[in-house]
């Protein structure tokens, strides 16, 4: 039995500690966000946050995650109440098949959490590990910039209070 904190909820899961986190998220916890893309840590479709860092859940053994905070796409918002990045992806219509998008959003979230105002070059460099096959890159970059602007506006409002 492994205790896992996912999206601020503790879960007791029965799994071999070697099992990659991805299969626990999708199988045991029935979360759709993280996607199976390669199982090799090469494409980023399975990206989630572990203690705020973007990791490939397909190559992260669940046994290494005791006491650490896992956040998946579901942790950022819902279909009815999307989070800032999710809303930015909707506003920019930054998806075609959308299969890579969950991973894109999670990797971008790790960047914006650390640096809410990244430059275009910083965004591109940070997003480099994630692959998109539909060619939606330009919209993805725009969506990340849009979310960054929304976060900065929110911070200004906070500061102004």
């Amino acid at each position: 039995m492994i205790t896992l904190t996912v999206n601020d909820k503790a879960h007791e899961v029965e799994a071999d500690p070697e099992t990659p986190l991805l299969y626990v998220l999708r199988g045991e916890l029935a979360l759709n966000g993280a996607k199976f893309g390669c199982g090799l840590g090469q494409c980023g479709a399975c990206t989630v946050l572990v203690d705020g860092v973007a990791v490939n859940s397909c190559v992260t053994p669940v046994g290494t995650l005791k006491g650490r905070r896992v956040v998946t796409l579901e942790g950022l918002g819902t279909t009815d109440r999307p989070g800032v990045l999710q809303q930015a992806f909707i506003d920019e219509q930054a998806a075609q098949c959308g299969y890579c998008i969950a991973g894109m959003i999670m990797r971008a979230q790790a960047l914006l959490d650390r640096n809410p105002a990244p430059s275009d070059t910083e965004i591109r460099t940070h997003m480099e590990p994630n692959l998109c096959r539909c060619g939606t890159h330009v919209r993805i970059l725009r969506a990340i910039q849009r979310a960054s602007q929304a976060l900065q506006r929110a911070r200004k409002r906070e500061a102004g209070r």
């Binding site: 799994a15 071999d16 099992t19 990659p20 299969y23 999708r26 199988g27 029935a30 979360l31 759709n32 966000g33 996607k35 199976f36 893309g37 390669c38 199982g39 090799l40 090469q42 494409c43 479709a45 998946t72 796409l73 579901e74 950022l76 918002g77 819902t78 279909t79 009815d80 999307p82 999710q86 992806f89 909707i90 219509q93 998806a95 075609q96 098949c97 959308g98 299969y99 890579c100 998008i101 969950a102 959003i105 965004i123 591109r124 460099t125 997003m127 480099e128 994630n130 692959l131 998109c132 096959r133 539909c134 060619g135 939606t136 890159h137 330009v138 919209r139 970059l141």
Partner: protein, 748 residues
Amino acid sequence: MRALKRSALKRSTLKRSMLKQSRPSRRGFLLGGGALIVSFSLPPRLGWAQEPTEQKLPGSLERNPKLDSWIRIDHRGTITVFTGKCELGQGIKTALIQVAAEELAVAPETIRLVTADTALTPNEGYTAGSHSMQDSGTAIRYAAAQARSLLIGAAAARLGIPHGRLKAQDGAVVTDDGRRLDYAALVKGELLHVTVDGQSHLTDPAHYRLIGTRAQRVDIPAKVSGGPAYVQDLRLPGMLHARVVRPPSYHATLLRVDVTAIAKMPGVRTVHRDGNYLAVIAEREYQAIAAMHALAAAAIWNETPTLPAPDEIFDWLASQPAQSVPVLTGSGGLSGSTKILEATYRRAYQMHASIGPSCAVAQFANGQLTVWTHSQGVFPLRAALAELVQLSSENVRCIQIDGSGCYGHNGADDAGADAALLAMALPGHPVRVQWMREQEHAWEPYGSAMITKVRASLGPDGRIVGWDYSVRSCTHATRAGPAGNLLPAWLIAHPKTPPPPRPLPLPEGGGHRNAAPLYSIPDARVAYELVPAMPLRVSALRSLGAYMNVFSIESFIDELARAAKADPVEFRLHHLDDPRAQAVIKMAAERFGWADYQRRQDHGRGFAFARYKNLAAYLALAAEVEVDRKQGHVRLKRAIATVDCGEAVNPDGIENQIEGGILQAASWTLRERVAFDRTRITSRNWNSYPILRFREIPDEVRVHVLNQSGTPFLGTGEAAQGPTAAAIANAIADATGARLRDIPLTLT
């Protein structure tokens, strides 16, 4: 200002409504998009033959002429629209809802759309060839317009007032004195059970509320928030997880395998062997993966080198016997010319390389096989699966659910076949098969290697006089329909043989798609040489032969323009009569700033144009590249495209498709080649088959849609592939003076 505000309001309403529309209920999702409407029953097909069909009906109506096979309205007024096409990430659901809602005079959120399902929807073949709007969009539009007019007619009869005093509005027929009859009250009996006559009055473009507006896609909210959106997300009660173990190479045979230890592994329900076909079924997904690895390690295969030498692949292709298909039958006449040019272009095998490997779920219960699949064609797949598992077609149902983007014939159908075989082996249980990355890379059918040869002559006036062109490739069409085209069918103990390849018919063609130049050339000969052999598995990759043919033609046009000392844009315009072709070229050149382009060190510009299939969307593209001569590296820096796809239903969806097409084609053109040795495919993951990444993405990609309101839909989704390749090659030639003719383009 008011108009602007109003349209903004409309857009936001549409956005909200589509958000709402996109939330499938759990039950709806499991049923593949919706519950059955039971208040309606199909009458026997007997009557159909007697109905008049002198005139060809528009779009897919020709094959499915009954109005209520497309649109049904139940007694509560719920409108359900049925399409035989699939959502592949191209946004077809949203565009079809826009079209139906426009003609039915309802808000888009009131429409429920059911996509490809052999039990529910019309048979529209494959979702391929940029046909969805032409086929399904047209059919739904005429069906919806006729439904509107039938509803108005019913209201007129009910109220005893002339049609002229009635109009359809917000799901009701309203009179000029304010009375209102809801559609629900009007759809009595068999009102919509009629043949669509194709004569309906379509909504006047001046009165469009939805067509031509930038609608937000109905499927995106779930896809960005982890809602159930993909076949991979399907979780049926009691579902088991399967993995297949493929042979290490195409023709390897299984010598022996001891499965005793594997059958005892945790969670393993069965180890399935049928000839060279190996699979495991387990309770949990990772248990299936562990068992798959063990099974792969236990299997001893006999392999033989059956592939051509990779560095001689084009010699192999050139020397193979081929079936010759004439495309244009001029003499190719090169007399009376002042200059003759010739060139040969080559393209390596390339793959679809979907981000999500193929997946399917199947269940065999009570004599009925149900397969949930991201196939592009559920009806042809049903036929293939029925043949494979020896059931009659009526006992097989295929339901399409979104998958990862496919860009043509990838592993989707094969995974459906895997799921079907394994569900038959373990009746009662839903069985989910997920391919591994290596399996998708190594076993999907690739886009064929190709060779084109062209010779053309210029007259003294700098115009093209003669043109002699040939294109040679393996087939571009090995889709299911026949079970022999399914990969698992080759591996089982009683294998099925693939039918011999045949050229896809013109005007669309396969390897010869877009082989005929659209330019006015007095004497042109064009031929396709189809090589029936296929040492590497091949089939339809987005745009088929058009990618290579347009690359070749548009590169060569650039070479001819240089030889004629003409500007490449002007040279194209001089050789084109079609005003729509001229318009996209002029607009792309203008938006790019072609006329006053400032040349910079290590930069170059290139132009290309094509009309997809010579009958669908027109697309012109101007590109700028940056070259790093030391590293031999080329980056597409700017791409400015103009597209005319006839009636543009969702301009944002079109822009998204074209932007994506440009970036995908840039990746093909600059990076991609399937690697193999004499025995095995060696491109088995993203390291051995690299694609474009974020740092290589252009600084600017812009697409302008030249909307032709009130004209037929022209297929768009594949229009950018060929022009992108040529524009890049032409820009490299402009930057470096080097003419690269082999894809992937490599500066040495």
